[in-house]
């Protein structure tokens, strides 16, 4: 061994160590290949299944008009997004939509099958109105199949269809609002000041149509045409008393810089050698609005952005962020308190296998940002922790918050990676707590399938399966999520749920909510163990009592809990517990 100076030797050792540490970390953090999900049997209705802390309530297979028996992966028949109202579940499909009666969760009934091709078929529902996104050049004004042959045609429809669903078995078209780029997705936004209108944010992402077909449409870059149809969203105002008068009222330049240049955000490309190439910011894929806090999070191809939507017809960008690991900013969710925003990266467009053992866990993942003082700060990543095969399209996709009090928990669809439930309360240490997955549709060839979106709604997880149908899943108790926490989440009920329109979750003052907090204090050692046991006994005693004795017991416990806050390892959670118990005393 040649002599080396001591500092050089130190550096060499340090370098060797750091390489070792990085390698060890990469190994430890790599997608698991031994997990049961990694090796499931391929098949359509007979694919292998694996689940953990989740059980299947029912799986409803696609009705005949909504798949191509000769090609199960036919893009033109993919199931897409979900919306909920009353006992009905609305499920989009690239070939139309389906409305399910979910009165009996084990036996869904197909109320309405409505073929109407054009993709993606994302849906929102409001009162007796149903809104549907139409993107492709094959979309027709009359909903017929066969496409539109002419490149310029009055028969073509791309935009938002609005149906009257008063007679839910027979939806009637009220009006159809055409847009230049079609509607890949849309978001329904209510007006806090006017209950008589709703707005639809239209996210167009594909080719701009000819100005000969729709006046004013332009696919040129802003330097060639300042009125380009790129670099904007469209906003449709829908007067609820006269929905036929729905029309575009604004097309805000939400990517403009301070000098007014409309292409003001990410220009597209890599962020340096070895980084991801991020798409150019000229569109939003999804905008998730959170009207209760007056904000929206836009996942806008090259950037994540935050919009102030207190005036929903005139959204104002107040923050933006980029990430060198992101290929395409796809969707967004707020934590219930609005302090975190989880953005997803749809690397590979959803049609590619991006959960292989060789794929980085920071690419095609969720990135979690904290939102404070109108600024976003990166706090952590989460990616499906299990390797999927080359024939499974897999990447982060649509999900929703599960309303467990005191924790940030989300359920998310990962295409053929299945459904994953995870806790991101601490964004630097995200933990998976439940999953459901099937094997690939086909062992030899990639056929598009899997969970398009997985949402919590009124106590259950609903997963729109692209090639198979609709799965309803139920959380089962575990050390990571107790029966009390699940029961507390099930107390949160919403009659209408359009998942890109996030609703604030609040919990009624009920014993199970207090017990959920207590379970969390025990799990996280947030309170002395003996004291926690005593609090559990006090809750038991109060519940066993009745009338004034019960109220008195709760009041005494609430008072004691306030005293417990001081000295507790997790005073905020003790405070939350004290508030629930205090409310039960009233």
């Amino acid at each position: 061994m040649p002599p080396v100076s001591s500092s050089r030797a130190t550096r060499t050792v340090a370098l060797a160590l750091s390489v070792f540490v990085v390698a060890a970390r990469a190994f430890a953090q790599g997608a698991s290949t031994t997990d049961p999900r990694a090796t499931l049997k391929a098949g359509w209705k007979d694919a292998g299944e694996a689940s953990w802390n989740l059980q299947v309530v029912s799986s409803t297979w696609k009705p005949e008009a909504m798949y191509d028996a000769k090609n199960l992966g036919n893009f033109s028949f993919m199931n897409s997004d979900l919306a909920f109202a009353g006992k009905h579940v609305f499920q989009g499909n690239f070939n139309g939509f389906q409305i399910w009666d979910a009165s009996d969760l084990k036996h869904l009934k197909l109320t309405t099958l409505y073929p109407c091709p054009g993709g993606q078929g994302d849906l929102s529902v409001w009162g007796n109105l149903l809104f549907m996104s139409v993107e492709e050049t094959r979309g027709r004004v009359d909903c017929a199949s066969g496409g539109v042959k002419d490149t310029v045609s009055a028969e073509r429809f791309r935009g938002i269809r609005i149906f009257d669903i008063t007679d839910i078995e027979h939806p009637k078209v009220i009006t159809q609002v055409q847009t230049c780029r079609g509607s890949h997705t849309h978001t329904l936004v209510e007006d806090p000041k006017d209950k008589g209108v709703v707005y639809i944010y239209v996210q167009g992402t594909s080719v701009v149509r000819s100005p000969s077909e729709m006046a004013g449409c332009s696919g040129a870059m802003p330097d060639k045409d300042p009125n380009t149809s790129l670099f904007r969203i469209e906003i449709i105002r829908v007067p609820l008393a006269h929905p036929a008068e729905a029309k575009i009222v604004n097309a805000p330049r939400i990517f403009a810089d301070s000098a007014g240049a409309i292409a003001g955000l990410w220009k597209g490309g890599e962020h340096g050698a070895g980084t991801q190439a991020t798409a150019r910011t000229d569109q939003c894929h999804d905008i998730t609005v959170y009207p209760a806090i007056g904000l929206a999070a836009g996942a806008c191809s090259g950037n994540g952005i935050i919009l102030d939507i207190k005036d929903p017809a005139n959204p104002q960008r107040i923050a933006e962020v980029m990430d060198p690991n992101f290929a395409y900013w796809h969707s967004a969710n707020f934590s219930n308190d609005g302090s975190k925003v989880l953005f997803t990266d749809e690397w590979g467009g959803g049609v590619a296998p991006r959960c292989r053992a060789s794929d980085k866990l920071t690419w095609g993942a969720d990135a979690i940002f904290t939102l404070q003082d109108r600024a976003l700060a990166l706090s952590g990543y989460y990616k499906l922790p299990v390797a999927q095969t080359n024939t499974e399209n897999c990447v982060a996709h649509n999900g929703a918050i599960i309303p467990v009090p005191g924790r940030d928990i989300m359920v998310q669809g990962w295409y053929q990676g299945g459904v994953s439930v995870f806790d991101f309360t601490d964004p630097a240490h995200v933990q998976e707590i439940a999953y459901f997955d099937r094997g690939p549709l086909n062992a030899d060839t990639l056929h598009i399938g899997g969970s398009w979106s997985a949402y919590w709604h009124n106590g259950y997880i609903w997963s729109s399966e692209i090639a198979r149908g609709l799965d309803i899943l139920e959380l089962t108790p575990s050390a990571l999520l107790t029966a009390n926490e699940i029961a507390a989440a099930q107390l949160v009920q919403h009659d209408v749920n359009n998942p890109q329109n996030q609703m604030q979750n609040t919990w009624p003052a009920q014993p199970v909510v207090a017990r959920a907090y207590l379970d969390q204090l025990v799990r996280g050692h947030g309170l002395d163990a003996a004291r926690a046991t005593a609090i559990g006994a006090a809750l038991d005693a109060a519940e066993a009592a009745s009338g004034a004795a019960r109220q008195g017991a709760y009041a005494a416990l609430a008072k004691a809990l306030v005293a417990d806050e001081k000295g507790a390892a997790d005073p905020a959670r003790v405070k939350a517990l004290a508030e629930v118990v205090g409310a039960m005393a009233k």
């Binding site: 090609n71 036919n74 893009f75 033109s76 993919m78 690239f94 993709g119 492709e136 050049t137 094959r138 496409g147 539109v148 042959k149 002419d150 490149t151 992402t205 594909s206 080719v207 220009k267 597209g268 490309g269 890599e270 340096g272 050698a273 070895g274 190439a277 798409a279 150019r280 590979g348 467009g349 049609v351 590619a352 060839t445 990639l446």
Partner: protein, 157 residues
């Protein structure tokens, strides 16, 4: 589709030349990305053609052999045999420049093919083709912008 497969295959063939001819880390990284995306898209096109009962060319195994381009029909943006020969002969910065110029020309050809597709009566009437063409359009536009910026940073000839 069949034409586009050969078109994509030439991009893969061009990228294969980088390793022995360029030391530019950004160019190498760009090349890896083009390689992955073009191979993915070739696989997708082959699958689509198989599903529609049509012959799917499989040009990738031949890369590295001297294809010369002379057996293929001319498609917008494809490098001529002379251009490929010049690229293979170049080294260092000269290679980087020829590669970027050639790949920009190549990608602009793909954009032209997409434009023609959308301007053709009866075309892009299935989701698969519509999506594919939309993706090619967006991805290659972005890569062209990126390559133009890289080209601008190279010192003049």
């Amino acid at each position: 589709m069949q034409g586009m497969i050969h078109h994509h295959a030439q991009a893969v063939e061009m990228v294969a030349l980088i390793a022995a001819r360029s030391t530019d880390v950004v160019l190498r990284s760009l090349g890896e990305r083009i390689d992955v995306s073009q191979r993915d898209e070739i696989a997708m096109m082959q699958q689509w053609l198989h599903q529609h009962g049509q012959e799917a060319p499989d040009p990738l195994p031949h890369i590295g052999m001297d294809m010369g381009g002379h057996t293929m029909p001319a498609m917008p943006g494809m490098l001529t045999a002379a251009q490929m020969t010049a690229l293979k002969a170049a080294r260092g910065r000269a290679f980087d420049r020829l590669f970027l110029e050639g790949m920009i020309q190549h990608h602009e050809g793909a954009l032209e093919m997409v434009r023609v597709l959308f301007a053709t009566t009866g075309a892009a009437q299935s989701t698969a083709i519509f999506r594919f063409a939309s993706d090619v359009d967006a991805d290659q536009r972005a890569e062209i912008a990126r390559m133009r910026a890289m080209l601008a940073t190279l010192s003049p000839k």
